[in-house]
Symmetry: C2
Subunit: 515 residues, 2 copies
């Protein structure tokens, strides 16, 4: 298999042409990581076609509930779906056709610092912090509710760590701020304390509208209408329900040309069948239905095929992470997204451990490695996640970020240049000698191997002399030192003022009206 | 790509025919894990061909030192190599030709319990404990020199844990036994306390001979001459030196039809060039030279392409584990072995951490996941390894074994049966409901998802109520309970007596003569 087809996956030339035709916002494309290793193709084409066939059968025979949104039902009906109450059934192939007709294969999400803009889709990988935890495992080891200060800290850390390409969204829930208003503080923190791209609020359509309006203060309304500056997380309510709030938020973003991730959130065995094939079928059906809706709202609006799958423990009903079945799903999910020709979101440093111990690390690493092989484009939850997503760990964040640095080297593949072949080194050194002082090593050592600033590779004796610190302790030390070193990126004072004014106005309105 | 070619890798039909022609000892083939997912093919064929070309160039132009073994030099010279002092140069292609002519593509290693026999090579994966640590991290947390009791404990644990298919070799160094005699106690412990296959001693040719003789007590001399009952680890002395002791041990095993793993042990940057391509080139050259020697000693003797590669830290010179460059080497190494058509040994739960913390787990998981993707057949160091191999951890052993259980599910691939497609489950449940009580879930839940007996998936509150135990603490508890439950497998008293007699006789000889 040649290098160029290898990097593009297995599909035929038709998909390639389609991707090029559907690429949008390409003027300032910037990669997170430019993938230079093959995708891992777990399933043969015939099995993928079977999943696609079964997903079509679900969409046609069983259908999807689009709840509380008569406008959506009209839109879907006009596009050829059969609407019966709130149940929507799609003729086989309709969703795929509508998505492939207009959804971009990749898109640029602009950051306020153009050097931080990322291209999402294609051969690129973007690492994004964990999303949603109401708790933190704090710097002093205490587990407590998250605050706005924690939120700001994680934004600062993601800004400082080069292996994170994105500032994320709800990096933790600032529960010290009223729920009706906290989306404004979160957006402001992302923009103020970082210059990396970010995610908008989805917890109410009005908060999505606020997110767009806030970004207008930064980028201007005109720029925003023709460029994507927000990528936001729209969960599908599995099985087979698209609820009013999520649909409403998705609509706001799509109407404004902003990106959405249509993400079935599946605890397999509870919210989907207890098999890999069944769960994949359902996820594909749900993602297709959601992406179809987005493309009907605004054809060409950027949309990402999202997938979050955990297996529930059949003993306790608890979600599990880093286990083999969801990893098989993840690998196949990447293939399904590539066949569809849209960007893929999945994976991350998932775990169910309550602390940053060996369980957390095994589970996170298992999913991270597989995510990289699977070709995840937008890796949400890449750093910080503990307790099945209920808790954000300062130590875990630093540890995961180190792992992401390693993945970026893995994804960059193998240098095959003459220098890398090192024939002169062999001629210089020969049998029984060593390469440490060779000319080739001296010329290459600085960029040779990934350098972890967290792993302790020293002797037992040296580690002992330095206090027998475990990885979590070293991570906390590194975290404190990073936060101490933090300096904010420059921000135009006029933009800062405009955002502060906007927030104050909106908070006053929310206090008065409740929304 | 169809399922059958997928499972066989990418090479053409010629290799397949060759493999079938060279399969030996097939009468009682039993798998460890039967691989049912594709190999991850990192490098395109032209890059693999380039590495093979460069390895040939090394073998032809620079050559390999075969130290202190005039007999070997004669054998190699007679086969067409150019011998200059102890430096041996091979005409391009000669090693590959000699290895492919007679080395089996896969072989059965017999265990004393035929149900434990394993097939090594092809689509099979065998998990083997860590090898060589002089220290243990004990059940009470202390780090100290290993003893024979520790050795016996790890043999018992590997016997009890179904995810380990092999009893291994020097699972730790019993330093309380004189170095000249301990190989006998180790062999006896493997046979007495387990019925899984095992590895022989390589630290002197006489100890290899003792290993063979001891196995004759178990299997009979005749059976042993036509069947493989030992797989032993022959390290190549990188760069490009095959030393007298290792060659002598390899000769003993090959002459007796026993398997050897020819394993370059490379700390890249010190013992090989500081690049992925350069290190792969050297490893291939060394493995080819060593396997050629084995095939010349006894054509058809089972031999495994071994590969152990770590990147040294360019700051401290210390070996590092779980990092991306050795993982890229590992993936390519699997491809090189498949092109050669011999079994592949690499990978494992490698780490440099001193304790079973998050560092240990990230590093181990990174290598374990990649090993599975790479198609490692004989995964030495799969469980227990700490401190870059200097220490065997009781907790780490239990943790790694749990990960191996997960890998065996991953390697088994995706069930695509009608039952797994679960269309009836969707028809039963429908949008907005849940699958927990559905007929399909009830019929499938018992075998549905991998069940870890180590991961804590419970709520924070429950975990807290149960004492906030970290993964290492739970692993120690599980380890103690396993050892408490241990009962030895049945052993014919006549065999036991014969082994004890043999040991006593040899120990008396060693005491008298020093060997």
């Amino acid at each position: 298999m040649g290098a160029s087809t290898r990097r593009k996956g297995r599909s035929g030339g038709g998909r390639r042409a389609r991707i090029e035709a559907r690429s949008s916002n390409q003027s300032t494309a910037r990669p997170g990581i430019d993938r230079n290793i093959p995708y891992y193709d777990l399933l043969p084409d015939e099995t993928l076609a079977l999943i696609e066939h079964n997903a079509d059968l679900l969409l046609e025979e069983i259908g999807v509930d689009f709840n509380g949104n008569p406008e959506a039902l009209e839109l879907l009906s006009a596009a050829g779906a059969k609407v019966d109450g709130e149940r929507v059934r799609f003729p086989a192939g309709l969703c795929r056709e509508l998505v492939q007709a207009t959804a971009p294969a990749e898109f640029v999400q602009h950051a306020r610092n153009p050097e931080r803009s990322v291209t999402i889709g294609g051969d690129r990988t973007v690492f994004v912090p964990a999303y949603g935890p109401p708790f933190v495992r704090a710097l002093d080891g205490e587990r407590r509710y998250a605050t706005l200060e924690d939120f700001q800290n994680f934004v600062k850390l993601a800004y400082l760590l080069p292996s994170l390409h994105h500032s994320g969204g709800t990096v933790c829930e600032p529960v010290d701020i009223p729920v009706e208003e906290r989306h404004l503080d979160m957006l402001y923190a992302h923009i103020k304390y970082s210059d990396k791209p970010l995610m908008g609020s989805v917890t109410a359509p009005s908060r999505a509208a606020d997110s767009v309006a806030m970004m207008e203060q930064v980028f201007g309304a005109e720029f925003l209408q023709s460029n994507t500056v927000l990528t936001s997380l729209i969960n599908f309510n599995s099985p087979l329900v698209f609820d009013q709030v999520m649909m409403g938020a998705a609509r706001v973003y799509a109407e404004n040309n902003q990106a959405t991730i249509i993400s079935p959130f599946v605890l397999a065995g509870a919210m989907s069948p207890v098999t890999v094939m069944g769960t994949l079928t359902q996820i594909l059906a749900e993602a297709l239905a959601g992406m179809t809706y987005v493309q009907l709202v605004r054809p060409g609006a950027p949309v990402i095929f999202g997938m979050f799958a955990s297996a529930v423990s059949m003993q306790s009903g608890a979600p599990t992470f880093g286990t083999p079945e969801p990893n098989l799903m993840l690998l196949a999910g990447g293939q399904l997204a590539r066949r569809l020709g849209v960007p893929f979101r999945s994976g991350g440093g998932l775990c169910s451990s309550k602390i940053a111990d060996a369980q957390a690390a095994y589970e996170a690493a298992n999913t991270l490695q597989v995510s990289a092989m699977a070709g995840v484009n937008f890796m949400l939850h890449a750093a910080g996640w503990l307790e099945g997503g209920l808790c954000m760990g300062y130590d875990k964040f630093i540890m995961d970020a180190d792992q992401l640095g390693m993945l970026s080297v893995l994804l960059s593949g193998v240098d095959t240049s003459d220098n890398a072949q090192a024939l002169d080194a062999f001629r210089e050194v020969g049998p029984g000698a060593h390469f440490l002082g060779s000319a080739h090593t001296l010329a290459n050592f600085e960029s040779a191997f990934y350098r972890s600033d967290l792993a302790d590779n020293n002797s037992f004796e040296q580690w002992q002399a330095e206090g027998e610190k475990d990885c979590a302790e070293r991570a906390i030390e590194r975290c404190k030192s990073l936060l101490d070193s933090y300096e904010p990126p420059p921000l135009d004072p006029a933009i800062d003022e405009a955002m502060i004014d906007f927030m104050a106005r909106r908070k006053a309105e929310i206090d008065a009206n409740g929304a």
